[in-house]
């Protein structure tokens, strides 16, 4: 009898455990959020991964590279302590994608966040108000989910990136007859936001039906538009924000709590490693910002005493430098590690006195620099100081206020 009861107990407990999704977000009694993977809390210690070699651009099919860059990188990623990579988009060669996910997970225990641009880079612009366009985008996401939902190395989905800026007309502006009929431009913005976030919500519901085992994130530039998301996009599980605020995320965590109370993944953040003012590489500057950013992420994890408790981790931008980014239309430029800055951000203040205040160097965001010499058919990976500083921080996270001086 006792044995029979024990079996029953074990059966019910196992059944209860089996009912839990493989990956899910848990809301704690103190209203904090944490990501659970295989029944255990999981801090996303991640990196955005797009290993484009020197001389190639974003079109390069690294998935099919016979030298398998993810194998070489995986070893280094693991050495650093990274447990997650973020892929912005999958490739049409689904077997190659599966191979990458599997290799990283089996060899190094590294999980993958898969994303989709949601047609953001469609030409001439993403018509989020157009049903045909919506169906096309949704179908693509559905296919992605069908293909990869059963991969053990999968951590979750991220829908879009900074697509919300298109609602403001800042980038890839779009409209619809309904929006055009509204004379007030402020209301037009809100109408576009409603259309966009409702659409993402629809996709999110669809993904949940297909795959109840992985959470769905809403990619979002800053917190812009999230007051609309709170109304129309409640079915996403977390917000995956793209944030470039330098040393501090400021009140990001609290502000999100106030506007759209969802867990936060810092899906893209970081710092470049080139001083545009002194015109030389500055690994200390990059390490300084990244350490400060990670300290803030940790300060806002679940059960943190001082933070909001709504952060589930981050995927820093990015693993390797990408030499094509400054002059994407010029193949000759892809072979040059460009030092021209393309935009200005005062939060990265050490080199803000650069000409025209342009201090952000797109081709220098890598935790790992690329050498022109080849090793195993790949550009040599040269870890920057940030690689070691963050590794040390993750090994022994100490949260303290960072002052405005770079460590030397």
């Amino acid at each position: 009898m006792l044995v029979a009861c024990s079996f029953l107990f074990i059966f019910f407990v196992s059944a209860a455990q089996a009912a839990k999704p493989a990956v899910y977000i848990q809301k704690l009694k103190n209203q904090h959020y944490r990501l659970m993977v295989g029944g255990r809390p999981y801090i996303v210690k991640g990196v955005c991964y797009n290993p484009i070699p020197i001389g190639m651009d974003y079109d390069y099919d690294w998935w099919s590279d016979p030298n398998k860059p993810w194998i070489t990188d995986g070893k280094l990623l693991k050495q650093m302590g990274i447990n997650t990579i973020r892929l912005y988009q999958t490739h049409e060669n689904s077997e190659a994608v599966k191979q990458v996910i599997r290799d990283l997970y089996k060899l190094y225990g590294i999980r993958t966040l898969l994303g989709d641009w949601l047609g953001f880079w469609e030409y001439p612009c993403p018509f989020y108000g157009d049903r045909k366009f919506q169906d096309k985008v949704k179908q693509k996401v559905v296919e992605m989910v069908d293909l990869y939902k059963d991969e053990p190395g999968l951590l979750g989905w991220i829908l879009g990136n900074e697509n919300n800026y298109s609602c403001l007309g800042h980038v890839n502006p779009w409209s619809s007859p309904e929006v055009d009929s509204e004379p007030d431009p402020q209301k037009q913005k809100l109408m576009r936001a409603k259309i966009y976030y409702s659409f993402v919500n629809e996709i999110s519901q669809q993904v949940h039906k297909l795959d109840p085992n992985h959470p769905v994130g809403l990619g979002n530039g800053e917190l812009v538009g999230l007051d609309s998301a709170a109304k129309y996009c409640q079915d996403v599980d977390f917000v995956a924000c793209i944030i470039y605020r330098g040393k501090t995320f400021g009140n990001l965590f609290r502000s999100l709590r106030m506007t759209f109370d969802k867990p936060l993944l810092l899906a893209e953040f970081g710092a470049d490693g080139y001083d545009a003012y002194l015109k030389k590489e500055d690994q200390n500057m990059q390490a300084f910002f990244l350490q400060s950013q990670w300290a803030q992420i940790y300060e806002n994890l679940a059960n943190s005493k001082t933070g909001e408790g709504n952060c589930i981790g981050g995927t820093v931008f990015e693993w390797t430098d990408e030499w094509w980014k400054h002059a994407p239309d010029s193949p000759d430029g892809w072979k040059i590690h460009d030092t021209d800055s393309s935009w200005s951000n005062g939060s990265y203040y050490f080199d803000i006195r650069a000409v025209g205040n342009k201090n952000m160097n797109e081709e220098w965001f890598g935790l790992v620099a690329l050498g022109e010499q080849l090793e195993n058919g790949l550009n040599k990976r040269i870890p920057r100081k940030a690689f070691y500083v963050i590794r040390e921080f993750w090994g022994k996270p100490v949260i303290k206020k960072v002052k405005g001086k770079k460590a030397r």
Partner: protein, 383 residues
């Protein structure tokens, strides 16, 4: 003999020790004087940095009219005639004279806790926009920038203190400075300064940023002492902007309003333009000087277009990013202005307004205003 050697040895050891103690005492004075009396031996710094409408300033550094201490004090007569069309003027005490950060000078004032000075107006009611310690940039920038103000002077001597506890005083070239504006003193101002000095004060605590009471004005009227922030952050096609903070063209309240003419000529090729009201002027996040406006739940302002239909892309609070970033930001827009005065509100509920250097901002562009735009603002305030 042995005893003599012992005494000599002891003296050899003691004398340098005593000398070192004297050096230390000399290096740790209780005060560091900028001005006590004309030609006083302990004066430091030179009032050489005349700024803005320098032609509006007259200085007599040995006036004997009722000094606070000693036999002389410094008299400034500010005419407010806008001789250099700046609308403001001021004087920095520098070391060496005329050092705008292009040469090494300054003093290491580590250990000093405050700067004190005495001031009075000839009549009372004269307004100093601000008084400053440090803040000179250049190749050899000051290590500190602290300001206080505005100060409305009385006709009797009064001591003022700038708290410097916790500030980096390792290099101070701009020892002291004052600025004021023609708007704040439309009929000019005569005022007196005396006994300006840095002092040690072991009991003084670091200044805690106080929460500002509401309403907190950005612009009330051109001469209002309640105004805060400076419309110094001209952005984009700044050459397309004309700013008049004293427009009398149908002000919403009081006698003046802000008039802005945006020509849309794309002078700098940006195709857009805007102005940030900053604290202090030109602070793009490099100076730790934000106001704590935590009590604010909204920012309101009145606006109208000259003809109606002018489109402003964005009105904004906060959002300046730098070493000392605004703690939050909030925006409204695009806004199409009416010809009549209309009040607009930027909702700040739930926002972190504990540190604000960018008090207010507008931005527009030529694409939506191909013929440019003329518009007016008034009564800009946090509530």
């Amino acid at each position: 003999m042995k005893k003599l050697l012992a005494v000599l040895l002891a003296l050899t050891l003691l004398v340098p020790a005593m000398a070192a103690a004297e050096d230390k005492a000399a290096a740790s004075p209780k005060e560091f004087v900028i001005f006590s009396d004309k030609n006083a031996k302990d004066n430091h710094y030179i009032p050489s940095g005349w700024m803005g409408d320098y032609g509006d300033i007259k200085m007599n550094d040995q006036t004997a009219t009722n000094p606070h201490g000693g036999t002389t004090c410094i008299e400034f007569i500010y005419s407010a005639k806008r001789s250099q069309t700046q609308g403001w003027a001021g004087v920095y005490w520098q070391n060496p004279a005329n050092n705008w950060g292009n040469k090494k000078g300054g003093f290491d004032l580590t250990g000093m806790a405050k700067l004190t000075f005495w001031a009075r107006g000839a009549k009372g009611g004269e307004v100093l926009q601000k008084v400053l310690v440090g803040g000179i940039k250049g190749t050899y920038p000051d290590s500190v920038m602290v300001e206080m103000g505005p100060i409305e002077l009385t006709d009797t001597w009064k001591q003022y203190t700038i708290n410097l506890v916790g500030k980096d005083l390792t290099y101070v070239n701009g020892g002291f400075g004052w600025t004021t504006t023609a708007d704040l003193n439309s009929n000019g101002a005569t005022f007196y300064l005396d006994d300006i000095k840095f002092e040690v004060d072991p009991n003084l605590k670091p200044e805690v940023k106080k929460q500002q009471a509401m309403p907190f004005y950005i612009y009330a009227d051109r001469s209002s002492i309640a105004n805060h922030f400076v419309p110094s952050g001209w952005m984009g096609d700044y050459g397309d902007i004309k700013y008049d903070g004293s427009s009398k063209e149908d002000a919403y309240l009081g006698d003046t309003c802000v008039k802005i003419i945006y020509s849309g000529k794309t002078t700098q090729g940006a195709r857009w333009a805007g102005i940030f009201w900053q604290q202090p002027a030109n602070n793009w996040g490099g100076v730790d000087a934000g106001f704590d406006l935590s009590l604010a739940t909204k920012l309101t302002f009145w606006a109208r277009g000259a003809v109606g239909g002018e489109r402003i892309e964005e009105f904004k609070v906060g959002g300046i990013m730098g070493e000392f970033s605004d703690s939050d930001s909030a925006t409204i827009g695009p806004v199409i202005l009416n010809k009549e005065w209309t009040q607009y509100t930027i909702d700040l509920k739930g926002k972190d307004m504990s540190y604000v250097i960018g008090g207010f901002c507008w931005a527009t562009n030529v694409d939506n205003n191909p013929e440019g735009a003329t518009f007016y603002l008034d009564e800009i305030k946090f509530e």
